[in-house]
Symmetry: C2
Subunit: 241 residues, 2 copies
């Protein structure tokens, strides 16, 4: 993406307006990068029992929050002063929704960091965490690709993310079954298993939010709200175009 | 709220525009009522082991989704055609955000309904569910009051909801501790306790989303984004006005 992106540039006489639209898009990507780092650190803290790192994730959440509020205000300014229509309007609406999801992903990272602190006191066995590491890797990849589809407003990548979220759900289900077995076999493991289950749930939700972002990309590109419509349906619509 | 509400009527020459703004507000309240019913039925299904009712909640989620999409489209239309500014713009933005939260509350109701189906097969003891019933009662009251503050755009009610969410959190924490104790004492109870924990988590999240709606009401009324600001700070700001 660059300020000379054909989506935005040739439509407007005001170079300032182009710059504003470019700016909110690139600030969404900054927010996305920040949130990705927060997930990465939270999961690292959990897997390595690093409570200092977990504390830092909790403290740094304010950065996510203040950037989100600032982009939100910029969007409202653009709506009020530029009165965008068509594609530009869809961009601003997509940005408003995307940053809400990114901020809530930041909240999930904070929750994982809190579980990291609780679990560090219980020394979970290494093999209890293997699958969680894999789930985290997949969830982060989804966020990265969702942001990539947002950066390029690329519908194909967006649709792929939605497909891949099914794999995340299946790893999540497997972790839940595994931890249930551990708990039933040895009740002393219950607190640790619960911490792992809650963290897994947070990661699964992060995957869902990556899908939300992809839905906004498709809404922007196609002018169509695809929430609650199956991916197959969207792909058929795409082929018909 | 009525179409002759002073907030909206005397500002616009176009009666049609007034009607549109009135319409999205009243449709948000319809969506809110629908979502409240879904929570009520999901929790009733859980407490009474009524799987038919739980199935109905799951099926009826499409009504929540389609109403949300329809209001969302109406908002985008108003932004494009009416190019609202100031208070009207804040209303439309508040509506867009509120309906997202309402739709996600509907998702939580669906999750509770799924747990109701799982738990019905396990016959939880009645006393395991007492506190969950209380949590559900409090969470639903928060939603009702959040919607009431939205209907009247009343900052005082909105601030009270945010305060009362702390009680919801405390009942939630108590349920989590209680279920942990049950599980440790009798591992056969683990599946039931987990179902209760997940349902409690959904209800706690519903409380959080009621608070989000209240934040949008305050944003509309005060022109100020209070997310991530303490209630004390907002109250001080209010007194200074």
């Amino acid at each position: 993406m660059s300020p000379s992106d054909p989506d935005t540039l040739h439509e407007h006489i005001s170079k300032q307006y182009d710059h504003e639209l470019f700016d909110i898009r690139s600030r969404v990507l900054s927010l996305g990068g920040l949130v990705e780092d927060q997930i990465h650190s939270a999961v690292k803290a959990l897997l390595e029992g690093d409570t200092d790192l977990a504390e830092r994730v909790i403290v740094d959440d304010y950065k996510v929050n203040s950037l989100e509020v600032s982009i939100d205000e910029e969007c409202t300014q653009i709506l009020a002063l530029r009165q965008p229509t068509a594609r530009d309007l869809r961009l601003v609406v997509a940005v408003i929704k995307t940053i809400t999801d990114l901020e809530r992903i930041g909240d999930e990272a904070k929750r994982i960091a809190r579980h990291a602190i609780d679990l560090a006191a219980h020394f979970p066995k290494r093999n209890q965490l293997t699958e969680l590491g894999e789930l985290a890797r997949q969830a982060r990849a989804l966020i990265r690709d969702a942001l990539d589809s947002f950066a390029r407003m690329d519908v194909d990548t967006a649709l792929q993310v939605a497909e891949r979220d099914k794999q995340v759900d299946s790893v999540y289900e497997s972790i839940m079954r595994q931890q249930l077995t551990y708990m039933m076999e040895d009740p002393r493991l219950i607190p640790v298993s619960l911490g792992i289950m809650w963290s897994a749930r947070s990661l699964e939700r992060i995957g869902d939010r990556a899908c939300n972002i992809c839905e906004y990309v498709i809404y922007y590109a196609m002018g169509k709200n695809i929430r609650h419509i199956s991916i197959d349906q969207v792909q058929q619509d795409l082929m018909r175009r």
